[in-house]
């Protein structure tokens, strides 16, 4: 039912904003809800920070955010990685002002306090000034506070709330997507390579996350790029010419509804999920023979067949990250405001694989994830249209009814539906509601 006047109650009853089959429009438009999401989701669960390969050597650091809070991923001289609050213990200035680098120590640009890469205070100018005061130079208040952090096969997540389940339990059914991406490397390891693109969206972060496994949108949103690419390639290329990699990448976005239905969507606790599995829009890329040779040599043909038969599209680590294991790309969500989100795109080298594999990941990123490509701007424009459209009080609810009640529970906590189902949305908002209401109890301290 529509409300005539857009009035916000004095206190928000978040539980009332999400029902199993629909969401209230205010969760996308209300800055107060965004504030609550920061506190109750982004500052309370595992958030992707970076990859261990970004800090290979002691002294290397990578600066990013968890929700609204600035943090650092570092490598210390003990060989371990740490996630630290990027904040000087003195007067709170950022200790690192750039994105990444390597240093001898972390020295504050304001008053010269110095810290080690495990967060321990190294020194203060004129330190004796703190003698006989309540400030304990050897106590925790003198260090850069550590954030609870764990790595799953190189992917580092951190949580500002120490009271979370261990990372692997939290990942649950989507840990296997990381496994499959790493297993595709002849040496069984990945490293970040090829740079990063940062794409600014003038829309709420949840539109991006919802869209990832929305299998009803590609053939409509991407008609102008994908279908056009098919037509132009057919016209321009000789009939017997091999299909260029770029066309292999763009064309499947306008596969049929039945193709996307068959890909299917899997859903797990905490809002996680993936589309594809037995097949996906990445299944028909041309072979790179040298890669196949190295994989066979590393694992044997039987194991390689097992690895390659898993072909997933987007895997969501709700709320902060998504990977495409079959093309070794990752996108990371950095919410800025209720209507502003930055999406980072990363590519990975499969260690031991020929350069052509990384080059294909890069080509994929250029074509699909760049802010200036043929595909992303149409997604972004549709999110923006939602962002504006949902200010309408003509109707308060957003539907997630497609195939409601038809999800199949394959095993406890693992649900499956055909690709056209709204299962991915319903699953995300089941988690959203849980975080937002359980977080409420934790807020009262």
């Amino acid at each position: 039912m529509a409300t005539l006047i857009d009035k916000r109650p004095a206190t928000i009853d978040v539980a009332s904003l999400v029902e199993p089959d629909r969401t209230h429009r205010s969760i996308y438009t209300d800055p107060a809800i965004f504030d609550l999401e920061m506190d109750r989701i982004w500052h309370r669960t595992w958030i992707y920070v970076g990859h261990e390969s970004q800090v290979k050597e002691p002294g290397e650091y990578y600066a990013t955010t968890i929700g609204r809070q600035p943090v650092l991923l570092t490598r210390s001289s003990d060989g371990k990685f740490y996630v630290l609050h990027n904040r000087c213990a003195h007067k709170g200035a950022l200790l690192v002002g750039d994105h990444c680098g390597k240093a001898k120590e972390l020295r504050c640009s304001y008053h010269g306090w110095r810290f080690d890469f495990d967060g321990k205070l190294l020194g203060i100018p004129l330190e004796h000034g703190y003698d006989d005061t309540r400030f304990d130079r050897t106590g925790p208040e003198a260090d850069m506070p550590r954030v609870r952090a764990e790595s799953y096969r190189g992917f580092v997540f951190a949580s500002l709330n120490p009271d979370v389940p261990d990372l692997k339990s939290w990942l649950g059914g989507v840990a296997s997507s990381i496994d499959n991406m790493v297993d595709r490397a002849p040496e069984g390891a990945l490293e970040v390579a090829g740079g990063v693109m940062r794409y600014e969206h003038d829309s709420n972060w949840k539109f991006f996350i919802e869209n990832l496994n929305d299998m009803m949108h590609p053939m409509v949103t991407h008609q102008s790029s994908s279908l056009t690419a098919r037509v132009v390639a057919k016209k321009e290329l000789p009939p017997d010419a091999p299909v260029p990699s770029a066309i292999e990448i763009i064309a499947p976005f306008t596969e049929s509804y039945s193709f996307f239905d068959d890909m299917g969507v899997h859903a797990f606790d905490y809002g996680h999920g993936y589309s594809g599995g037995k097949t996906s829009i990445h299944a028909k890329y041309s072979d790179i023979p040298e890669y196949n040779r190295r994989m066979d040599a590393a694992y044997g043909t039987e194991r390689v067949a097992e690895i390659m038969k898993v072909n997933r599209h987007n895997t969501i680590f709700y709320p902060s990250a998504t990977i495409k294991g079959a093309v070794q790309t990752m996108r990371v969500v950095r919410p800025v405001a209720v209507d502003k989100t930055i999406i980072e795109s990363w590519t990975f080298r499969l260690k031991g694989a020929p350069d052509e594999m990384l080059q294909r990941s890069i080509l994929y990123c250029n074509l699909i994830n760049s802010s200036a490509n043929l595909v992303g701007p149409d997604d972004q424009e549709n999110y923006r249209r939602q962002q504006v459209g949902l200010h309408s009080t003509g109707e308060d609810w957003v539907t997630m009814h497609r195939d409601f009640g038809k999800d199949e529970e394959i095993e406890p906590g693992h649900f499956y539906a055909r690709g056209s189902s709204d299962i991915s949305f319903r699953n995300q908002y089941r988690a959203w509601k849980k975080y937002m209401t359980e977080g409420a109890r934790q807020d009262v301290r």
């Binding site: 390579a193 600014e200 056009t228 890069i362 250029n366 802010s371 149409d378």
Partner: protein, 160 residues
Amino acid sequence: MSDELEFHHRVSQFLFHEVRLIDERRWAEWEALFLEDGVYWAPATPGQPDPVNHVSLIFENQLLRKVRIARFASPAAPSLQPFPRTAHLVTNVMVDRRDAKAVAVSSRFLMAEYRRDAQRFYAGAYSYDLAPSGDSFRIRQKKVDLINCEGPIESSSVWF
């Protein structure tokens, strides 16, 4: 000197003509300025050594340029409704190298884009690798180094 002046004039006129074709949406004429194996490249990192081992905002050969042009004509592209208007300003034109087969030219540019009730600006450097062709030139490579190429950067669809 007069030969150099005349050459500089011809090069500048070519650069102005190239961006004018974008602003006037004369896509087929614009595309025809490129050699068949010519490339358009907008790196995503300052000083990026190559377009193959590092992500780029745009790295397009002839086929991809033609796909983009065909997309411009599609009624099904929400981000192009209405179609953005652009004005490219080119200045600081310098001929860096010149021989019978290749001319290297650098310049600075500013592109204003009007889209969805808002005006945006992109600025940076153009580097051209040109092939002399009669009285004019063909493009072997146009490289666009945006000063903010590593972002965060909003959607754009028209060539810088």
